[in-house]
C-alpha cells in the first residue's frame, strides 16, 4: 500500500528546503540576465560552481573565515562574468548562449580533472567546510519545529540564512528594477538600438547585469553546498536547464516568479518522484524499475520546459505584455 503521508510530508519539506532556496536565488539571478536584460546566459551552473568551490577551497585550503570565503566566491564570479561578457556582449544573443554554456563546462572539467586534485578533490569533490558556518549559528542545539518541518539547529540555521538571502535579494531586485537603472535594462531587452540612440552605453549596462545576476548565482551555489558536499557532477548543464525550467515556470521577468517557481518546482518534483517510486514499489507500474522511476523526472522537466515556452511563455506570474523573449 502506498504511504501517502510520507509522500506529502516529503513534498512539503521541499517548500522551505535550502535546495529550494538555492534554486530560487539562482533563478532570480537568471531573471536579471534573461528576464530583464534579455541575455541568454546558459552558464548559471558555472556561477554556482564558482560559489561552491570558491567558498569550500578558501576554507579548506587557505583557512579563510566565512566572510572572506564568501567574498572570494563573489570575486571569482565577477571575474568569470567579465571573461564571458567582454567577447560576447557585443554579439548576437545566441553567441552568448554558446559561450556561456562552453565556459560553464570548462569550469566543470577543470574542477573534475585529476590535475588539480589537491585543491578541488577532483571527481569526489570536497567536504568538511561547514564548521565555520555552523559556529555562527546563534540557535542553541536541539530539535525544533512541528510535523514534517522538524530539524536540528544546524538545519534550521541553513534554512533561515538561505531564505533570508532570498527575501533580501528579491527586495533588492524589485527596487533596482524600478530604478532608472532597471528601466534602461528593460529598455535594452525591448530594443537595444533605441536605448543606444538615447546615448546609453548598452555594453556597459549589459555587463553590469551579467555581473549582478552572476553574483546571485554564486550565492546560490554557496547555499546549495551547505547541506551537502561539493561534487563536480552537480554542475552539469542540466543544472542550468533546471533553473531555466523554474524561471520559465514562474515567469521570466518577475520577482516572485523565480521564488514561487522554485517552490512549486521542487514540491511537485518531490511529490511526483515519491509517488512514482512508491507506485513502482507497490507493483502498480510493472514495466518500470526503481532506477527508471528516478529518470522520469528529467523527462518530465524537459517536456515541461517545451510546453511552458510554447503555450505560456510569460509563466505563472508574468505579464503577457512583458514577454521576456527577445525577437
Amino acid at each position: 500500500m502506498i504511504d501517502w503521508i510520507a509522500i506529502f510530508s516529503n513534498a512539503a519539506q521541499e517548500l522551505i528546503s535550502p535546495t529550494t532556496a538555492a534554486y530560487a536565488l539562482a533563478a532570480l539571478g537568471l531573471a536579471i540576465h534573461f528576464g530583464y536584460t534579455g541575455l541568454l546566459n546558459f552558464g548559471q551552473a558555472g556561477f554556482m560552481a564558482l560559489g561552491a568551490y570558491g567558498y569550500a577551497i578558501s576554507i579548506l585550503s587557505f583557512g579563510f573565515p566565512v566572510w572572506a570565503a564568501v567574498l572570494v566566491g563573489i570575486g571569482a564570479s565577477v571575474v568569470f562574468a567579465l571573461i564571458l561578457g567582454i567577447p560576447t556582449l557585443r554579439l548576437r544573443a545566441d553567441y552568448l548562449a554558446i559561450v556561456t554554456i562552453a565556459a560553464a563546462e570548462i569550469l566543470r572539467l577543470v574542477f573534475t580533472t585529476n590535475t588539480f586534485d589537491a585543491l578541488t578533490g577532483s571527481a569526489s569533490g570536497l567536504q568538511g567546510y561547514k564548521q565555520g558556518f555552523a559556529d555562527l549559528n546563534p540557535i542553541p542545539s536541539g530539535t525544533y519545529g512541528f510535523g514534517p518541518f522538524t530539524y536540528n539547529a544546524y538545519d534550521w540555521w541553513i534554512r533561515i540564512v538561505g531564505w533570508t538571502l532570498v527575501v533580501v535579494l528579491a527586495l533588492i531586485t524589485w527596487l533596482i528594477m524600478r530604478s532608472p537603472w532597471g528601466r534602461v535594462i528593460k529598455g535594452i531587452r525591448e530594443d537595444e538600438d533605441a536605448v543606444r540612440a538615447l546615448g546609453k552605453n548598452v555594453y556597459s549596462y549589459k555587463m553590469q547585469s551579467l555581473i549582478l545576476g552572476g553574483v546571485y548565482g554564486t550565492l546560490a551555489g554557496m547555499i546549495f553546498v551547505l547541506p551537502r558536499a561539493v561534487v563536480p557532477a552537480n554542475y552539469q548543464t542540466s543544472l542550468t536547464f533546471f533553473i531555466y525550467a523554474i524561471l520559465l515556470l514562474g515567469g521570466a521577468a518577475t520577482i516572485l516568479g523565480p521564488v514561487i517557481g522554485s517552490m512549486i518546482f521542487w514540491v511537485l518534483l518531490s511529490f511526483f518522484s515519491g509517488f512514482v517510486a512508491r507506485a513502482v514499489e507497490a507493483g502498480w507500474l510493472p514495466f518500470m524499475s526503481q532506477v527508471q522511476a528516478g529518470q522520469l523526472r528529467f523527462i518530465l522537466v524537459g517536456v515541461a520546459i517545451m510546453l511552458i515556452v510554447i503555450f505560456r511563455p510569460q509563466g505563472i506570474f508574468g505579464n503577457k505584455k512583458e514577454l521576456a523573449f527577445v525577437k
Binding site: L40, D117, L248, I299, G302, A304, M306, V326
Partner: protein, 448 residues
C-alpha cells in the same frame, strides 16, 4: 586517446595469469589462501601480524603480489591515490607490496608500467585500477600481466598519430556539424537536440545490429534510414507547427533544450546507463603505416566520412535542390519570392541533417568506443564549437571548423591531461569569438 607519451603494443596471449594474491596474515603463517577465503580474515589477526611497523599508522591496506609467469617481479612501483591521499611503494624480492591508507574509501591503484621488465606489460585492463574496500580492512588488487612490447615513439611520430586520430574525429564531427549548420542556416534554430540525433544513430545500430542480430551492413542502413525518419518527424510534429505559430528564435532554442533533456532521459530510461559495444568495435589495430597503427574500422570510418562529405558538397553545389537550400539559407523570403518551396527545402535539410547526425553517431560509437545514452551530448558543445568556428550557417565552414576542432583536441593531448582535452577546444571557441566572431569562412556582417 590516452595521454601517455608511449604507445603500448599489447600482444595478449592465452595463458595470461591472474597475478597478485592477497598478502594476508594467513599467507604469512604458511597457509595458502585463495582471495575469497582471505577476504574473511578478521581484522584483529591482520593487525596483530603486520610485519612492517611503518604501516601501523593506518588501519586499511591495499596489498598485492606482482609476478610474471610465476616469477616474482621486484622493484615494480605501485601508487595509491584518492581522497587527497597519495602513497607509493615498490614490490619486494617476493614481488609483494602493501600500502596503508587512512580511510576505508575508493582509491586508484596504479602500476607504473615503466618499472616493469622489458617485454612485460599490463595486458588486460588498465594499469590503473579503481578499488574499494569490502567488509575487511585489507583489499587485494590484482594486475594482469602479459607479454608485450612497449614501443616508445618520438615526438614527430606522436604528432603524426595525433593528427591522424584528430582527422578521424574531426571528420565525424563534421558530419554532425554540417547538419546543425544547415538547420541553423535555413531555420535560424540553434538545435540543442542535435546531440540526441547523434545518439539515435548509434542506439539504433545497437538495437538492430546487436539485440536483433541483423547483419551489420543492413543494421547500419536501417539505423540511417530511421535517423532520417526521426529528422523528418521532428520537423513535421514540432518545428513546422512552431514556425507556423511564429514562435521566436530564442523560444525555439529553449524548446530544443527541453526536447534534448526529455529525449536524452528517454534513452536512459529505455537503454539504461551502461556503455555497450557495437559489433567489431574491439578488433585489433593491425594496419601499420610507419609509426601509425589503425584498425580497419578507423580506415572505414575515415573513408565513409570523406565520401559522404563529398556527396553533401556535390548536393549543395551542383543539384537544383542543393542550390535552393543555399538560397534559403542566404535569404528565406527572397528564396520564397523566386518560387522556391521553403518548407520543402527545410524538410529536406532536416532529413539530411538527422541522417548525417545518425551516421556521425555510429562513427562516434566506434571512435570512443561504446554506445551510451549521453554520448551525443558529450560532443554537442564540440559540434557547436565547430559550427561557430567555421561561421554559423555555412556548410563548408562547419567542415573546416570540425576538422580544426578534432585535430586541436587530439594534438592538445600531447600537453594537456586527457580529462582536460575538451577544455582546450572550448577555450579556442571563446577566443575565436573574441577576434573573429563571424568565424573562419563566415561573411563579415553585423552580428551585434
Amino acid at each position: 586517446m590516452e595521454p601517455t607519451q608511449s604507445v603500448a603494443k599489447r600482444i595478449p596471449r592465452g595463458w595470461l595469469v591472474s597475478l597478485g594474491i592477497l598478502l594476508s596474515a594467513l599467507t604469512l603463517s604458511g597457509v595458502a589462501a585463495s582471495p575469497a577465503m582471505a577476504e574473511e580474515v578478521s581484522t584483529a589477526v591482520a593487525s596483530q601480524e603486520t610485519e612492517e611497523p611503518a604501516e601501523e599508522e593506518f588501519e586499511y591496506f591495499f596489498t598485492g603480489n606482482v609476478t610474471f609467469e610465476d616469477e616474482p617481479l621486484e622493484g615494480v612501483r605501485i601508487t595509491v591515490e584518492g581522497g587527497g591521499f597519495e602513497a607509493e611503494t615498490e614490490t619486494d624480492a617476493e614481488g609483494k607490496w602493501t600500502i596503508g591508507v587512512p580511510e576505508k574509501d575508493a582509491y586508484e591503484v596504479t602500476l607504473d608500467e615503466d618499472t616493469l621488465p622489458e617485454g612485460v606489460v599490463v595486458a588486460e585492463g588498465e594499469a590503473t585500477i579503481e578499488s574499494e574496500f569490502g567488509l575487511t580492512s585489507r583489499k587485494a588488487v590484482n594486475f594482469f600481466l602479459g607479454e608485450g612490447q612497449r614501443v616508445t615513439t618520438d615526438i614527430g611520430a606522436q604528432v603524426l598519430i595525433r593528427v591522424i586520430n584528430g582527422l578521424n574525429f574531426g571528420l565525424l564531427l563534421a558530419l554532425a556539424a554540417i547538419g546543425l549548420s544547415l538547420i541553423f542556416g535555413t531555420t535560424g534554430l540553434s538545435n540543442f537536440a542535435h546531440a540526441e540525433l547523434i545518439t539515435f544513430g548509434a542506439l539504433m545500430l545497437l538495437t538492430f545490429g546487436v539485440d536483433l542480430a541483423v547483419p551489420i551492413w543492413l543494421a547500419i542502413l536501417i539505423a540511417l534510414i530511421l535517423s532520417a525518419a526521426l529528422g523528418w518527424s521532428l520537423d513535421a510534429t514540432i518545428w513546422k507547427p512552431l514556425r507556423r505559430r511564429g514562435v521566436g528564435l530564442i523560444p525555439l532554442m529553449i524548446v530544443s533544450i527541453g526536447l534534448s533533456l526529455a529525449i536524452r532521459y528517454v534513452y536512459q530510461f529505455l537503454y539504461g546507463g551502461s556503455t555497450r559495444q557495437l559489433p567489431g568495435a574491439t578488433i585489433p589495430s593491425d594496419i601499420h603505416l610507419g609509426p601509425v597503427t589503425m584498425s580497419w574500422i578507423d580506415v572505414a570510418s575515415m573513408v565513409t566520412s570523406v565520401i559522404v562529405l563529398g556527396a553533401v558538397a556535390y548536393f549543395l553545389l551542383r543539384t537544383r535542390i542543393g542550390k535552393a537550400t543555399r538560397a534559403v539559407s542566404d535569404n528565406a523570403s527572397l528564396a520564397a519570392a523566386s518560387g522556391i518551396d521553403v518548407d520543402r527545402v527545410i524538410r529536406i535539410v532536416w532529413v539530411m541533417g538527422a541522417g548525417l547526425a545518425g551516421l556521425s553517431g555510429i562513427l562516434w560509437a566506434y571512435f570512443r568506443p561504446g554506445v551510451s545514452w549521453d554520448m551525443g551530448f558529450q560532443i554537442l558543445l564540440l559540434v557547436f564549437a565547430a559550427v561557430t568556428l567555421g561561421g554559423l550557417g555555412t556548410a563548408f565552414g562547419a567542415l573546416v571548423g570540425a576538422i580544426i576542432v578534432g585535430m586541436f583536441i587530439e594534438i592538445s593531448t600531447l600537453w594537456l591531461p586527457s580529462d582536460m582535452k575538451y577544455v582546450g577546444a572550448l577555450v579556442v571557441l571563446i577566443l575565436v569569438l573574441l577576434f573573429r566572431p563571424q568565424g573562419i569562412l563566415g561573411r563579415r556582417e553585423r552580428i551585434g
